[in-house]
Symmetry: C2
Subunit: 236 residues, 2 copies
């Protein structure tokens, strides 16, 4: 079954309203008709199901809310702080994967090694929306852009912070992955851009209580590091 998105402001007492691309996609591409049953999520854990009650052109579509449930947020809560990656396709890939793996917030930041300074957050938000629906999730992460990693650390100063900082041994060898506290219910995971964090950024993060973790003996691309790091928390 296809899943559609309507923000909480469009969830009313007895119906949800799809607008914009969601309405167009439903009525024009999928040729949804009145009476067809849809699932609607609000990106905040709200999940609704019911028949289409009314279609107004391709602009608005009302879904009667017969069934509603609240889906609890993924645990532990993973906040991903990620340096802006220069190559757009790799940045977009990382955002898509972070949503698939349940990030609650994707905090992009510029850092000393950041090459690209601007990102199209509208594109990233659209990718995040698709990924949420694709992965059958009900929570849509916020996407923000900060001017430094320090800003992200400060915002989450009350959250356990793990910073990926690889000690790469060029000849390979065994993994030296730091153990991670599994009993935290919120974690801030930091991944640098290409080239990683600068020594000053690492020092400041450590002063703020961040713990450095290695993602293994080999050099990983930034977007690979995001997936590897986050998937660590899929396994009990």
């Amino acid at each position: 079954m296809n899943i559609f998105y309507a923000p909480p402001s469009q969830i009313h007492s007895d119906f949800a309203e799809l607008t914009g691309q969601e309405a167009t996609h439903a009525s024009k591409v999928l040729r949804v008709r009145e009476g067809d049953r849809l699932v609607v999520v609000d990106g905040q854990g709200g999940r609704y199901e019911g028949p289409v009650a009314r279609i107004s052109g391709h602009k608005s579509l009302q879904v009667k809310l017969e069934d509603r449930q609240h889906v609890t947020a993924p645990a532990p809560e993973l906040i991903l702080g990620m340096g802006i990656i220069k190559k757009r396709d790799r940045l977009e890939f990382a955002v898509e994967k972070a949503v698939e793996l349940g990030a609650s917030h994707i905090a992009l930041f510029r850092s000393e090694h950041t090459i690209k300074k601007n990102v199209r957050t509208d594109r990233l938000e659209s990718i995040a929306l698709s990924a949420m629906k694709q992965s059958l999730r009900s929570w849509l992460p916020e996407i923000s852009v900060s001017s430094s990693v320090d800003e992200v650390i400060e915002r989450y100063s009350d959250v356990r912070c793990l910073m990926a900082h690889e000690k790469v041994s060029s000849a390979g060898g065994g993994n030296d992955v730091a153990p991670v506290a599994d009993d935290e219910d919120r974690l801030l995971l930091l991944v640098g851009p290409e080239g990683g964090f600068s020594p000053a950024e690492v020092e400041r993060a450590k002063e703020e209580g961040a713990r450095l973790v290695s993602l293994g003996a080999y050099r990983l691309r930034a977007e690979t590091a995001v997936v590897v790091f986050m998937s660590r928390f899929l396994w009990g």
Copy 2:
């Protein structure tokens, strides 16, 4: 330091010969000169270092082998069997990531849910080569294409086989990841294409001794499943 590739046939007793794109890249793009020190890997664990002894146009470059070492293969050995993904960028991404994460063999296969039947293995091999160098690895995986997942299972009939087969609960919830035997030194990991494996494929794999594992409560795209599955074995 940049790493270059020369297959074992081009590793001679006292020098390695770079040819083709590797030679062009070194001499033309990176403007390597005689006397510059290079690292050369042979994709079979051989890792060499020494000065450039001779440059012939942009076609051949000889590196004197002053230092040589054998890098042991990653353990456990991970053989990745992967259904051919329809979208080329996602397939290429999966191959790149599998190399970064140390697959010893990437066995692509057509399956009942495969939409795209042909792949450009030359492109994939080139991507694999870049990924090996990028991630500072010394082993280059074989890339093969089989006409069914059964063929892959049969080739590795002596290897412990884990088949990713998600039981997706559409409302999310806890993870139900099957525990994995960590004491195996070789594993065959199977990931289906979009749409996963067919019931018949799952049944036949089970008959051959494959163990079904879930990659969590949410639906993952095929290429995400590859990264998540493989990274399971990065963590001790």
